[in-house]
Symmetry: C2
Subunit: 438 residues, 2 copies
């Protein structure tokens, strides 16, 4: 039998404990598949004595996680502390700088410091793997990096945040507004006490920046993702969309524009969209995550599964650990960090789509003419108009008007909404959602 592969784990929350449990429960299975045993030898966490339902007595304990970067007798470190900076980043830098491979579930850290960490890993012949950072145990990074290795990929679309998708699915099913469903999701443990990172799109944006870098061979650029969350969507919008034949989903999209074969301009967006029933992401329900990657040879490949959870995340971490145990060290973002292209941002204003627009307006004559004039002046033409009698908005002071536009550049739609800003007849900020795959 080959020598054991020795792992240090930093962070023993539900994910860290899940990794220990998985490696223990499936030790024999994993040994047969990896060709050698995988052993946890050291751990670090904030509280040593907390009961986590696992036996830590045989592991070396480190009070400071960064010790794991230097401790003798460790082949790799699994970082599940979390946070884009602080101890997680210190540990990652120290480990990789010291030539010690790192497996991490930390999407915020990879989205924001991925390039620097990949460079450190390569400079010191260490592996840097982060399958768990995107869609937990649903192996999308590996699918892009290995299964689709022969493909040029120019477009990725995904449902990357389970909490938002759970909320939108529940709003659709129950006809309830965002606030009510969020409260329920928090009670059921599908949403955090502070849901901002999930429902405002930041979490999906972290994952999108990682996917885009890996699929397109460009530097990860989290700061350039255009982000819009789901707080402003009403149950009435979802019902309206449904009547028109669409589902509302928070979609993360990345598009690569090329000049010849070289990456030129990158567009990354996270925003609520209307999806027709035949769109592969339209049927993704509840907390499930899914990614659709368009390969020029393989065609569209969809992969879906749990996008969170300690067991699913542990599954991804272990798959990375096994790859390291087999001696497979590849560039973190599929190509050497020096080969990652630094690309410009594409102008989202140029992108054309049909749009769903919804206004809450004062119920008085002339309001519709005002809306229509703004649309005309911005060169957005209206395809169909739905006026809802329903009173909505602050103190039910307004009525809802929804419309679907003909295909128009995003810039024109923004211009139309800007023209209406401050108009006395508009009771609350309008909502605009593009319709995908028309």
């Amino acid at each position: 039998m080959s020598e054991a592969f020795r792992l240090g784990i930093a962070g023993l929350g539900t994910v860290g404990a899940g990794v220990v449990r998985l490696l223990t429960e499936h030790a024999a299975l994993i040994e047969t598949r990896a060709g050698r045993p995988i052993e946890v030898v050291a751990v670090s966490a904030r509280e040593r004595t907390k009961d986590r339902g696992i036996d830590l007595s045989s592991y070396h304990w480190c009070n400071d996680p960064v010790e794991l970067a230097h401790l003798d007798g460790i082949d790799a470190v699994a970082e599940v502390i979390g946070g884009s900076d602080g101890p997680a980043l210190d540990l990652a830098r120290e480990s990789l700088g010291h030539g010690r491979s790192l497996v991490t579930a930390n999407k915020a850290m990879i989205a924001q410091h991925g390039l620097d960490l990949a460079q450190r890993a390569e400079a010191n012949s260490a592996g840097l793997l982060f399958e768990a950072a995107v869609c937990a145990g649903t192996p999308i990074l590996q699918t892009l990096r290995e299964g689709m290795v022969g493909n040029r990929i120019d477009r990725i679309e995904g449902i990357l945040n389970g909490t938002s998708n759970y909320i939108l699915s529940a709003m659709e099913r129950q006809g309830e507004d965002f606030g009510e469903v969020l409260a329920e999701a928090q009670r059921l443990g599908y949403a955090e006490a502070d849901p901002a990172l999930d429902v405002d799109g930041g979490d999906a944006a972290h994952k999108l920046a990682i996917l885009a870098a890996l699929a397109f061979g460009v530097e990860p650029r989290f700061c350039e993702v255009e982000i819009e969350g789901i707080r402003d969507i009403r149950a009435a919008d979802i019902m309206q969309a449904e009547r028109l034949g669409y589902s509302v989903r928070l979609v993360a999209m990345a598009d690569m524009e090329r000049q010849g074969d070289s990456p030129a301009r990158l567009l990354q967006r996270v925003r609520p969209c209307l999806l027709p029933a035949h769109h592969p992401l339209a049927s993704i329900d509840g907390p499930t995550n899914a990614v659709l990657a368009h390969g020029d040879y393989a065609g569209p490949i969809l992969i879906q599964g749990a996008g969170a959870g300690s067991e699913s995340t542990a599954s991804a971490i272990v798959s990375d650990v096994v790859a390291l145990a087999r001696g497979e060290t590849r560039p973190a973002f599929a190509v050497p960090a020096t080969s990652l292209a630094g690309v410009k941002c594409a102008d989202s204003g140029e992108r054309e789509a049909r749009y769903y627009l919804r206004f809450v307006v004062a119920d008085r004559p002339g309001v519709l003419a005002e809306l229509a004039a703004a649309m005309r002046d911005a060169r957005v033409s209206i395809q169909s108009l739905i006026q809802e009698g329903e009173s909505v908005g602050p103190e039910e002071s307004g009525i809802m008007i929804a419309l679907v536009t003909h295909k128009a550049p995003a810039r024109n739609v923004r211009d139309a909404l800007a023209r209406l800003q401050g108009a006395a007849s508009i009771v609350e900020p309008p909502l605009a959602m593009p319709i995908l795959m028309d």
Copy 2:
């Protein structure tokens, strides 16, 4: 720059030519991702002079594909000749026996000779990879073998034959019977002139045997797959199922029964089933393939994409070639061939499900009583009965009776049908389809 990885290709049909085209078109991309160039150095096919739209002048030509096993200066052979035996098998045995890695798209050969080939590969330290054999460029084998490496998997379900799924989807959409839709599919190139391997389930069975071996760690046992095709399904069955809220799909299913942690009994079936709308495979339309693998940590993972086509297949072959070029040689079926368990067949008769049963009977008194008596005697209880006025069958000599049973063991359902065999009132053999995921 590292040394080139040199490939020989046996077979230059659409797939072989697709591999050459892909490696040429994306040479730079692949070199960056693989860390070294991949070069085709030798080819073999039946006709040397045929115009394939690719330039073969710089490749060494072999009249006999088996020469590629021994020709100097080749790192691996890609076999895309096809056929479970004959030259493909000769080449595979010779190559692996000679320590030369083999990549193949040949599902029939791997399903039937996979164990022998895996043993040869391991005995001679050669790689044996066959991602293209299951669902073409949709990387399901890699997902099982690597992405889900930390999981125990006890169940796999898939839509593994694009032709059958195309036909069933078209029957559903167009309300036409099997024969009409098959003829159309043949005209459009979605079905072969001899469609038997596709519509009778053999092709899906080959793929299922490979998936089961890899996911469960058992010897591939194609000969033990229970197979039923789609020829006997009528448009009226699909309409009836639709009214009840189900889609009809040809589903390949493998279940592992364990004793403790060890594989004990394996059930492999390919058969038409009724799927409720919320089943992840129910919405798989047209020639698309999909596999749902249930991991005990990762949860259910679905992967879907094209299941055939020269470009998609070339994508899979190239992903295997890149893995070899990176020096990643792993056991063919995820664990060493000596670790693959030889398991018994599970008894499908024990499996319980609700069933859709359809009879074509003579239109005369007492027929229904006869059916009901057979069901009662076999201990199958009827949940709902649908009698259709429509005349069907040979010379429209019968009328259709469809029913849904309560949950019953397959054995009892078979017994009920056996009791009716030869009954004068039964105009043609009955159709039985289980309802999945109730």
